[in-house]
Assembly symmetry: D2
Homo-oligomer: 378 residues x 4
């Protein structure tokens, strides 16, 4: 809650979509944002119904992004949207983000940033020339105990980092539901709409981002095995990667969408000379710290022992669980804070470029005979 | 998300308060409610600042509940608030709820319903005569897996119920913080503002409600031990109760606020002839079912095997945790649905009367020599 | 492993019995004991077969305890048994223990000590006059992390103790298997062989012992509800007790054998002014310490941070789980150490008297109208 | 317990050694074995003291393996040892095993089988020509729920296997304790005594064996990254391997001894088309089965739903935890059963050859530029 709410527009996220509703809930949660405009669907009827259901002024329920940008630019500055949320399939992220930035709006975009690194660089250029903020929905970095983990690694609690293990294990693509009418599955396994990677782009990027973000290290080279387990699928559904990090640490990244029975098992472990930490998204309010020379410590959201810098990321007292939407809301709040001129971190252009570089490198390595491939810029 | 948002007013919940912010987030989450009016504090400056921070029209930031009710009644029907949230200390619940109901507004009230059973009955009468809805914030009944548990017990999965164990274990009142300036602690331990029970009224009522709600049984008689562990405290901070239920089942209710180190440990276990269930609020997306004759089953929010009636209570796919605010939002959503004429369950007058009867019975039993005391109406 | 093994005799524990095999494994584990004689069954054939299967000299496979005691007394001192293990149904504990003590043998006896307090006092007298050691199989006190918990409470880590919660939840008697030929169930629900209490004597005594042993407190008065949930059963199968302890602490003891689906859920929680501890038998190598003012600590068997006095109770490095048999073996090892003249703690006469007093008090209280009943000696 | 105990000799395992004591406890637990002879240490005094402490006849406490073999062969057949346990550092496994087999004794040997594959093949040849049994202490395959997992995969519960993930995470070598007088650490990091691999041979072999044993698949090719994180160390302390299995499944094997704060974290996950299983050694009595289309099931040792073939591997009722020593004892029991002519599985020559092939392949791959290397025989 921070004074008058900022005005948000949205492209995508019509009836039946998943992630658009999450963006709206996250934006609404703390009262920082009010959704006032949208182009929710290319289907005119569906678009209209979505706008109505959301209580949007019909005049601001636009048929296309172009119409939305034009319509909003035509409004007085204190009425038009401050920022646009992009919650479409991946192939639209880049053109839409660039158009919105160039039209003068801040952009909060679903991940992955773009179809490939080249596109991502074009977004970066647009953000640069427009001077607008670009936020990227690496949601998991919005969890309070992820920030606690990051800050503790950064101040050296674990000593020099030696091991980084990150895994993201889902099972929902274990069957060929992408050919049975599941919309979510359909576009995510279609190279034209999903981009170069399947599981790699969809959740491998989350895992990679989390690993670099919390460890404070950069992956310097990787060795990857990509595979497709469901017959007829065109993009990878299983990703296994050995990591070498820039300080000499070693790591493993595993992402899969064919671990039948698994839900949304994103888990990060980092070990240094003196101890290790573990965080798992499915029980996000716990951060476990294990030590060579003293008992394991369990940090809990809003519990004793957290760093002061973590506290603002929580809304409820200890033991009242916050979850995925609240983590997401932390990113929207930080995004609002920056637009208002304050200081706050959220995933942005640099995070996006780094993950797109990872995607391309993994694909190249997996397709070739070379054991190790360096990341761009590494 | 359900068409045009209903309009909400709030009394209490100004700057620095805890539960008011939760109500606002819960009401906002799904877009069912828009906060448009409030009397947030008896302190004029604090009230004004709170209204501003929340983006409330200054004309609808009222100095008192009376002013709010009068002001809103004076507005056109399609502008005035639909319902009032009451998030004040306990002693104000009854007079405010009655005033608001009598003024024609639906009321969503923090628990406990009132200071005592007599007051609660006055609210019940006001709800009856006004024909307005009265919602009561027994938040934990809003969790999806609590509903799953209730429905499974109701359809007989466990067989005849034999054992009910409920515990609510907090530690935040382990020290005399109520005399050290902690506002939350202060009023909760003051008989004039908290009511007859301390821990009993604050969290014992939650535990009791959950036990009856999920088991589908009524507690018929109790045997209680109330105690005060922190010197100088005037209300109980620890509650131990033996339960006998109306079908012959036996139970235990434990509520405490002096379990140093505990967070918000609300946990329910119910056993029947064929198996048992366990749900714990601190990991609310899991419901464990244990069976005499087959392996333990773990049901997960949005996972396979849930009853269809539970599904609408979740917003995210399996493995994306929802928490306390989302459970709260389920109650606000049900409240809105009923106001709009739909069908939905939320805790209401009957739940409130039953819990206030429990509070009075426990206090009477604990003060006397009789071993067992029957509940009102049992 | 401690030099030449002591010689053990056993009464009871023939083919098909459960607890006798556990005693043998526990005694054998560390090489402290060698089983050399037994009267395993009143059925001559079964007794002989049992002795053979165990590799016992046929001459020392006796038809009765009397024969065993006489036979062993007739052997040279360096051949005869040092101690006798009694693993029969409850009603035989007292006469056999007294006979063996009076015959000059140390005795290690299954719990409960006896059918009632009067019998237990006769054992106590026999132990006193014979000068022999009497060990009692309160197995759970043999777990390393139970000892760690006890020692930490004793040195004041938690501050003054306020809350003691102990529960022992089993489900194996949820059906009337005691009338379907299950031998274990049969005698445990027969008052003539089990004693005054059913569930109360069988596992309520374990729970009570653990609570007093770890808290270092004595229960001064109790208020109890005993019930029978399975039709036709003659002894309690569910026990709920409110506890008041001698320092003013309050507690709850719950023991049940009709929690369908539960296994062997013995769990202890103790809270003091500064924090609380939790130990659960089904994951016995973990002791959780929660604190008001700092992060939760998780102590692990053979891990860092344990008290030096706990270390000798573990055989394997951290992370190599030890279990029930190892806990049992710790008691047999301590028993051997004391027989050899060393210092070691094991549950003995005092523990037995205290638990039998508890059993009798609970039964008396549950049968009467008085709310609170004092324990003998309290 | 199975009739007269077999007679066991032991080489290695004197005072202060770890694994020798575990072998003795495991052999003793069920009464199948009696330790009657040993060459416990090359240090004469230490050997003598060890024998005395274990209650071994001084005449059968030998100064060397040669003396032991000669001495035992000179005894009557019904007195001499049936089998020899080898619990020395790795470099002695092969020569000792071969000598004992050739002398006509069955051998139960610590892992890894040998320093390299060539040596392992020599043992295999000796076992072949002698007709004696050779058991290998892949302890973790002795856990009941590992067997349950194996049998369920074998009968197709999970469908075609797609993913295999195994990790073995320890932290005890996080510091340079191998140069600070820790005997265990010292020889394990010395190529002359440990063999080709450090962490790879010590625990990587366990992980590999478990993965193949439970999945029923063979690893066909691997891509590995070996590293040394502690300065001055001569053998790997961290192992990351991508696996390709012979049915097309993909996998990851992670073994490390520098995960500071980790204990003995061996964990296996296998996913097939319909579901996945998870087993973790540190809570070994639980096997979790997750399904695409129904709730997660948790199988518990001695609980309902286990396969009949698993039941004989447990000694205690459900909820009475068994651990590492009991798993070990299951191997010793199976070894005894086979010696007596019965049917039982224990890890043997084939398992050893396969793991030694893995060690050599990993080392070769990690040292070279090729991405994938096939395993011997794959």
């Amino acid at each position: 809650m921070a004074g008058k709410a900022l005005r948000l527009g949205m492209v995508g996220g019509g009836e039946g979509a998943f992630i658009g509703a999450i963006h709206r809930a996250a934006a609404a949660l703390d009262g920082d944002w009010r959704l006032v405009a949208g182009a929710f669907s290319g289907d005119t009827d569906r678009n209209r119904r979505s706008g109505e259901a959301l209580g949007i002024d019909p005049a601001r329920t636009y048929d296309s992004l172009d119409a939305l940008l034009a319509g909003e630019q035509a409004l007085p500055a204190d009425e038009r949207i401050d920022a646009l949320s992009i919650v479409t399939p991946n192939h639209l992220h880049a053109p839409m983000a660039i158009a919105a930035l160039d039209a003068g709006f801040h952009v909060f975009c679903e991940k992955p940033m773009a179809l490939d690194l080249a596109e991502a660089r074009q977004i970066a250029a647009a953000a640069e020339r427009s001077g607008r903020h670009f936020g990227l929905a690496f949601t998991y970095s919005g969890y309070p105990l992820v920030e606690e983990a990051r800050a503790r690694v950064a101040r050296g609690d674990l000593g020099k980092i030696r091991l980084v293990q990150v895994e993201y294990s889902q099972g929902w693509l274990s069957q060929a539901i992408d050919r049975d009418g599941n919309k979510q599955a359909e576009w995510r396994t279609d190279p034209a709409r999903a981009g170069l990677g399947g599981c790699l782009g969809d959740i491998g990027t989350h895992a990679f981002h989390l690993a670099e973000h919390v460890s404070g290290l950069r992956v310097s080279e990787i060795c990857a095995d990509l595979s497709i387990h469901v017959e007829g699928r065109r993009l990878d559904d299983d990703v296994n990667v050995l990591l070498r990090l820039d300080n000499g640490a070693r790591g493993i990244l595993k992402a899969t969408q064919v671990a039948a029975g698994d839900e949304n098992g994103l888990k990060l472990r980092i070990h240094g000379e003196h101890g290790g930490l573990e965080w798992a998204q499915m029980e996000p309010n716990t951060l476990t710290l294990r030590w060579l020379d003293r008992p394991t410590e369990v940090l809990r959201a809003a519990g004793p022992g957290l760093l002061p810098s973590t506290l603002p990321l929580m809304r409820t007292p200890s033991g009242h669980p916050e979850g995925y939407i609240e983590a997401f809301a932390n990113l929207y709040r930080a995004f609002a804070t920056r637009i208002r001129g304050g200081e706050a971190w959220f995933p942005s252009v640099g995070d996006g470029l780094q993950t797109m570089g990872f995607v391309e490198t993994v694909i190249a390595n997996a397709a070739g005979d070379a054991k190790w491939t360096a990341l761009p810029g590494a």
